[in-house]
Symmetry: C2
Subunit: 300 residues, 2 copies
């Protein structure tokens, strides 16, 4: 699995063949996106969640995505330490993945890596991402179920989380519930959701849970909420709708990436340099130059 995910990250030439071989084995795992601002306890929560799932003998994959870092593997060292109790358990697969500072890298590589963990027989795959800007919403688009973590005492945590991710999360967790203000944060959140709530088809009522992941409090309830959401996804037809939309976005991202790679192959070639000189000389406008360039690209 580690080698397959590296292949995805490195965009190795063997990737399409591997994807073809994996395809019939995908579609079984429950993909859970876990997001939230730095410091809310994502890794501790993920680790506690893994422990609970393993107690039920479910196979678990964890993909820690760091969209802010071009460095892979060692990028989330602190998180790895927190996950260390699981590293000798062969029912758990943990992988950190960076998206290489590449535009669209999150959209492109993450679904492929999730597909590897799915095909490998994981019952649940946790996709954990640092909540930086747009990536929260992007990761939500990759998951069957999206969990947003908040913590009390982070100032205006609910306010800060408002932009986008409140709309896409399915389950809310106020972690560090042993701290002051947890109940207030949960109340604030419920109020915000009550005002802006748009329950999906079939009417999934989005729960707000309180946990203390470091102590293990509330984790059983979180597992139950995620299982309930999965049942709702199946019963309502929402799961297949989300998966179709996700696959469409994935196909598009791969297609754009293929063309981009085809264009990059021409970068060093005389063709592009010649077109550029014509544009600089005012003999050609950049749109016609782009058409000429595209005429030469053979998508791989």
């Amino acid at each position: 699995m580690a080698r397959l995910i590296s292949l995805v990250e490195d965009r190795g030439p063997g990737l399409p063949a591997v994807a073809e071989a994996l395809a019939p084995h995908t579609g079984r795992a429950h993909v859970v996106g876990v997001t939230g601002a730095p410091g809310v306890g994502k890794s501790t929560s993920t680790s506690a969640f893994v422990t609970a799932l393993r107690a039920q003998d479910r196979r678990v994959g964890v993909l820690a995505v760091d969209p802010s870092s071009p460095f892979s593997g060692g990028a989330l060292l602190g998180d790895r330490v927190r996950m260390s109790e699981h590293t000798t358990d062969d029912g758990v697969f943990i992988r950190s993945m960076a998206t290489r500072g590449h535009l669209g890298g999150l959209a492109w590589a993450t679904p492929q890596a999730l597909r590897v963990l799915d095909a490998a027989g994981c019952d649940v795959v946790l996709a954990e991402t640092v909540g930086v800007g747009q990536s929260e919403v992007e990761v939500a688009g990759l998951a069957d179920t999206t969990v947003l973590l908040l913590a009390p005492g982070m100032g205006d945590g609910v306010q800060a989380a408002k932009a986008g991710v409140l709309e896409v999360a399915d389950v809310f967790v106020v972690n560090k519930a042993d701290r002051d203000g947890a109940e207030q944060t949960a109340r604030d959140l419920r109020n915000v959701l009550a005002i802006g709530a748009q329950p999906g088809p079939g009417g999934w009522e989005r729960p707000v849970l309180c946990t203390s992941a470091a102590r293990g409090d509330g984790i059983a309830e979180l597992v139950a909420a995620l299982d309930a959401h999965r049942r709702w996804l199946d019963a309502s037809g929402e799961r297949i709708r989300r998966r179709n939309a996700r696959a469409a976005a994935e196909i598009q991202a791969i297609a754009v990436e293929k063309v981009r790679a085809g264009i990059d192959d021409l970068r060093g070639a005389d063709g592009l340099a010649h077109l550029a000189r014509q544009v600089v000389a005012g003999e050609l406008d950049p749109y016609r130059a782009a058409d000429k360039l595209l005429g030469r690209v053979r998508p791989a």
Copy 2:
């Protein structure tokens, strides 16, 4: 000009025809990128710089690019107020442009807008951008000459600016030089440059100037430094090298955008939805699906 730049932002269908008509008239303007962290006085500096250029009867274009905002026109209201003394001068053209939160939007739309200002006969075009993350370096790639503004008393301003932009700037300005610490910041900067300096071909020695844009102090020296850099660019052949590289990047960005648009056109179509369903069912892998999709795309 305002309508042409709106056409660029909106990616109107008439754009290629306009670009073709403009092409023979481009390549004359000196494009100066102005960047720096929020609060260093970019707009005040730009305004003072415009005043100095107008005193020499040079036509000036100002393009204020805000890569963080999807809102155009009114995005930089505060900046517009600062520029208000120039709004009735028909030798000055000022335009705010957002890049619509679109991946690659900065790379795509900004060169086209600069091209409009160039073709319109501006002697100098100032491209001012808020220094957020990667955009500083991107904007540097669009300019003949890149100016990095710093201010004293911004904590570790030199340190903060280190990531990328120190390497690409041609002229450094410590603004707000009437404040404590300006000389120290300039000294720190000169030390950093002396250690890491990589003078370009022909050996452009990158100056560190001190200005107080609000008082107009040091602006004449800044104009002189930018004119000196332009002469150096011409004499060394660096200007044509930069313009060729810029045109190549521009052609690539347009080509990728064309393909992306072509794919988006298929989004609603039955074709992509059908491919997505096959991927979800495990009948097709996403790479082969992308190939099938690309087979249907007609780049516009």
